[in-house]
Symmetry: C2
Subunit: 209 residues, 2 copies
DNA sequence: ATCATTTGAGACATTTATGTCGCAAATGAT
DNA sequence: ATCATTTGCGACATAAATGTCTCAAATGAT
């Protein structure tokens, strides 16, 4: 039974999500084709990863479009912006789930991917800026920090899914709550802000499978 | 001029933070020694990475000790717990800065590292549980989600440092504020919670340098 | 049944990284 | 100055992954 290029792509994504360091031989086996056939579809491992990364960027763009990010920026309406933010976050969960390995794939530094990624992030930054102006997001946090925070929270999503820490259906709620309100009890002062001494790296849960 | 084992370690960390995929040859050059000399200190690349990962775990443990995590858990006092949380977060920034590549190093799945990491995370989980009981952290978020969130925020710290998105001195404040209060404007309802359609992966800024 | 197309198998070549080794050179100690 | 120790160099070996190629086998179309 012939396997289509798209089926190979789907299998490759799923396998790389499970084992980001998987070899071409591993991927071919997971896709149910031989290495020679994989090479007939993709000229190299690098070529395959380029295709996968572009697909992830496509989904990121789709999420922004479907959430109406640009319309929300133009409207400036708090309610519209809030909805756009929420929908974008929820859309990003799906993308994080489907393309989880891409979140930390070093191949993203390739210029053509870098450019697309920067452009998409630029749109998010515009949304965060509009949200700050509209009083939806607090204005005392740099928008680039907020963007990096969203990225970090997507990795939290990925970890939670991989380790079964959080039920899939709970993820939208906990992500939204954490992003908008944080983990602190409502009304609690934020942490004392005193810096601890040079100290321990964060959880080394990355890559756990 | 002879280079000590510790100097090699420091140079290796700095170089790997810059280029996580650096080869043994790259690391030797960065350390100012030959490959043969590097091999006299470390039996293999795997051995070197094991040493570096243990060092990162040492710092994570130090951060917990210095922040008085266990004492805070025992005391149950909201103020003590809040201070412990804050100090731990600040300590983790330093660790994230010094050992940033470890956050996404796949080598952490080695059993001996896995065990230490799980133990350290267990202590953090105990702190988050105590914090929820004391009313410092909201109780409606799973503690494992909170732990993953801290990990994700450390990656946000890493990205912000690598890209110069946030001034180093502002990181403790923005991390604390985001962790305890989120990015939403105070009093704003959290996002609508409606899931967007299957959509775009988060910023592919990982690995950007 | 026959022909055309696609695929798998596996041999082979290439590339890159790692690991080992011997010895001259450099460095350090006396 | 001499001796001991350490290091760098580079050749060599090993390993793993990737890429290429040929051809028989499998599959699909007629």
């Amino acid at each position: 039974m012939a396997v289509s290029r798209d089926q190979i792509i789907v299998a490759a994504i799923q396998h790389l999500n499970h084992d980001p360091a998987a070899s071409i031989a591993d991927i071919a086996e997971a896709a149910g084709v031989s290495r020679a056939t994989l090479h007939r579809h993709f000229t190299s491992r690098e070529d395959l990863l380029l295709v996968l990364n572009h697909r992830a960027l496509d989904l990121w763009k789709d999420a922004q479009v479907k959430a109406g990010v640009e319309e929300a920026v133009r409207s400036g309406e708090p309610a519209v912006i809030t909805t756009a933010l929420s929908e974008m976050l929820s859309g990003l969960i799906d993308a994080a789930e489907e393309y989880s390995f891409v979140l930390t794939d070093l191949g993203m530094s390739v210029p053509e991917l870098r450019e697309r990624s920067d452009e998409l992030e630029g749109r998010e930054l515009a949304l965060y800026q509009a949200a700050q102006r509209a009083g939806v997001l607090r204005a005392d946090l740099p928008v680039r920090w907020i963007s990096n925070t969203v990225y970090g929270l997507l990795l939290a999503v990925r970890e939670s899914l991989n380790r079964g820490d959080v039920a899939r259906r709970d993820l939208p709620r906990v992500l939204h709550e954490t992003f908008f309100r944080g983990a602190g009890e409502r009304g609690t002062q934020s942490g004392a802000g005193e810096r601890g001494p040079g100290s321990g790296g964060g959880p080394q849960s990355a890559g756990s499978a």
